[in-house]
Symmetry: C3
């Protein structure tokens, strides 16, 4: 194997200052620039090794546990793929099957399932103010168990989407940008339009747009966040993005027009979400199990959404972008007009043109996750990556 | 380890001309005689190595993904066993848990779950005209993703039962015949009765009898297909079997009497199925979700089935077979009169006499599946099997 | 690695006379004292190796199959952890997904799922007279298949909780006692109070208290079994415990007061269960699917339970124990007053004081299970444990 292909990535990793070992990975903006770069570097290395047929096995045994409190295909398989690639066995905590529904405390569960675990992947994005909090409680409980000698090791929590951030998605998105534009440095001065788009459904989480503005604002890009009036995101996240943008020498604007956002954009990310204040009301109604209230809210929201059917990413709007050739991004599945719904987030033609690009974007997610697992579980990740390269064990042998 | 025991099988494999690498395995009659022989040879080798305690591990990591659109115990565990034996991790796509139910296209899903997969096992046998089609779409989508650099490797689709064929079952059946009669050559001139049998249930798939006539007709056997009038199979499959029978120098007949089929038979395979035209109507009714129509059809069918309760494989009919000692076969679970139902496919005494034989028949399925995975995923399977033998790593070490 | 730390455990194992290879593990009182010691010795060794970061992988491939006929978080993850640590892949038989619900016999299923399995873990604790019987039938069916050459190997059944015993729990409890008091020998003369406690729920299995008295009575302890009148256990198990107690030179008493049991106790195990005769009636009602009858029984039971709300383990009662410092034990999750319910088995303060102790108690269960798998699946476990130690492969490498 031509090890020379991989050496620069290992070298880069060696230069980065990291404090990730035995820690959770919950919000990208809690991690330093070096740490973000490390995630991308290891993910790229793992992607390239995998493409070359080389095994990424880093563990002889160990469990990767996933907790999904919402439906998922992509993220579920990304996590399963990442865990398997590293040599971990997968175990899902299905809360319907378990006794958690019967009043167990998070603290107890966190310890009970983790005796032989390396990583806990959690998706919990349904209720505002809940998902990220749950992950922190879970991590704190494991930390407590570890410090008291109950757990032999401290598994890391990986946020597979919460109410605040969707870090593995945003990092896969960033990897797609890096590879499309050549480097993170090349992103400086590029305009990215993170915009709301119409969808005939309701209650989509805010974490994708929040994750995107929370991460892309760190690389000197000009971030244009666009949504119809009333469709705002969590204010604290927007503030964080603004602050980062200023620090990184980029710009940050909020506009109420998809067209304005698309104008001269290098990248567009049209994606539906529910308004912040609706998610707040929904969380309350769900907590009190107020079914008529939920029904009413849904009706109201869908009616309101319907006022903005023109927020569709179509060929006309794409012409407004830089040379009419902006990179279209989506976390998938997109609501494609005339394909998955009558009227949706993106026209059939635009989607079809960028279909393979969105697949490539998604293809990085398993490697982002395996990278995060490696960086939070290995004491000297650079040395271990060097080992993987030198060993060069073929996956099929 | 006495490697000499395994050498002839590796040698046989070496002589066969194969074009299976990176391909799907969907219908036995799409594969050449050499390829069918290769499946049996590798399955036998793996069976023998497993019996000797030798590890069949061929992959360091990698996912085997199963998609079950119908209930299954045997096939589910056969696939899980085969995947595990080769070193692959198992991941099930549960369509109720995933977002597929919400309108994702097959094309997208096929790529999204396959980034780190080696094989996709699919069972989809409920609707005529659907299952096999779905598998081809799935395979084509992965091929497309692979050719466009989205997938680093092209996983193979293995048909775990569709509307047309049940190849892993038919191949396990063939292996049972080969081992019972000594060789594939010895099957020439043997009479096999693939006959309908009474069952108090309704809507059983056609793929088992179709798989059996579609495979056994290739080895010079005299195939007698028997069913009550109106219980025909898919006409194209019957035509294929007739054609193969003529080419192989065997005979093919359709009779409307279990007794006629059993007469002088060397092998009998009494198994219930729903008439082709009923499955067609059922598929339409299911598509339009016509519940009263389905209820009516079920009533009608059960009433019609009940006219043929004498289509039971009992001791009296077994006496008609060659020396009264034909090999009884079944894919299990059988509807055993007085055991699993009041009146069914086979009498208690006949089943009990052949119970262990049906278990042995079933025992080949995991190895047939691991064989197909190896043959579709390894570039030089003979060299790799040689390696397994020489390495002789014990499973428990 | 300091191998000297592990050598004494391997040496101890070598001195024990065992007949566990290829056998099931169903009731602790069916195993000799040496065999019980072996389970604890290997579990301790595996616990210590795991803590030192050493891989416990004993199998290259192979399946560990679990069958859960009742909800479970702890035991499910303990089994998954144990299987993974030994290198086995996990496969769950979900009886809702499978065809078992459609009338398959145990005999058939046992063979069909076991072709490549090493161990079958079964939890079946809902119906009196059923769970343990089912496990024996399952084991006998595999034995039959193995003797007739259907199965290449004889997987072992591990009882993950039945109607009679909960051996992996009781053995984890015993390990906690051994480590708390220094040795099994030190348990001689210690008083253990296995007492009923109030819970606002109904129908809790008897297998935990039965497992505890069935095991702890063998080590010269003074066992005090306490429950309100009418809350007796299976008489045969109580007889077994009495007999063992006499043989081991301990005492065994039944009292109807939590206070009496706690008096001077070194260990207390307050845990709710349903009365034996209620479980018998419940089993009949469930068998006949008598819903009004079940409703009535539940009402009756909860009303009866409510008479004994003072059977709570609180600080007052803990003062009655030896120096007020008895070890509190629970299999978790406990019904904690003011935390998981209004009034329950244990007061908040008492539980909080012993919370970490109960976590430690639970932490042994995965290693007890991996120990039992190793002892029932390896011909020379001492040699293999020696190998694990000498090899010293790190889990993360």
């Amino acid at each position: 194997m031509a090890q020379t292909q991989f050496a620069p990535l290992v070298e880069t990793l060696r230069t980065l200052k990291l404090d990730m070992f035995n820690r959770d990975f919950l919000l990208t903006w809690e991690r330093t620039d070096d740490e973000i770069k490390a995630v991308l570097t290891v993910a790229q290395l793992m992607n390239d090794l995998h493409k070359a047929g080389v095994s990424l096995r880093t563990f002889d045994t160990g469990l990767a546990i996933s907790i999904f409190r919402d439906n998922s295909t992509r993220t579920r398989f990304s996590f399963a793929s990442a865990a398997n690639a590293l040599g971990l066995g997968l175990s899902e905590l299905d809360e319907e099957k378990s006794q958690i529904a019967h009043g167990e405390t998070v603290r107890e569960t966190a310890n009970m399932i983790s005796f032989l675990a390396e990583v806990i992947g959690i998706r919990d994005d349904m209720f505002l103010g809940e998902g990220n909090k749950y992950m922190r409680e879970f991590g704190a409980a494991m930390q407590d168990g570890y410090e008291h000698g109950i757990l032999h090791q401290r598994p890391s929590v990986v946020n597979l989407q919460c109410d605040v951030d969707h870090p593995t998605q945003a990092l896969a998105d960033l990897m797609q940008l890096k590879n499309t534009f050549g480097s993170l440095e090349n992103l400086r001065g590029k305009k990215i339009a993170m915009t709301w788009a119409y969808s005939p459904s309701y209650g989509k989480p805010l974490s994708v747009p929040q994750g995107v503005i929370g991460l892309m604002s760190r690389f000197g890009m000009n971030v244009s966040l666009a949504y119809p009036e009333g469709y705002g995101l969590i204010p604290e996240v927007v503030e964080q993005a603004k602050k980062q943008s200023a620090q990184a020498g980029g710009t940050f604007e909020i506009v109420n027009s998809m067209e304005d956002a698309f104008k001269d954009a290098d990248i567009v990310y049209p994606k539906s979400w529910a308004p912040f204040h609706v998610m707040q009301r929904r969380t309350e109604l769900l907590n009190t199990n107020d079914k008529p209230g939920l029904k009413e809210l849904e009706k109201e929201c869908l009616a309101n959404n319907a006022k903005f059917k023109n927020w569709e990413c179509d060929e006309e709007k794409m012409k407004l972008t830089k040379k009419g050739e902006a990179l279209y991004m989506h976390c998938l599945p997109a609501d494609i007009s005339g394909v998955s719904c009558e009227e949706g987030e993106v026209s059939k033609n635009v989607f079809e043109k960028y279909r393979l690009a969105t697949y490539a974007e998604a293809s990085y997610k398993p490697f982002v996750i395996s990278s995060i697992i490696a960086l939070t579980r290995l004491q000297d990740p650079a040395a271990r990556m060097q080992q993987l390269v030198e060993r060069g064990v073929l996956r099929s042998r």
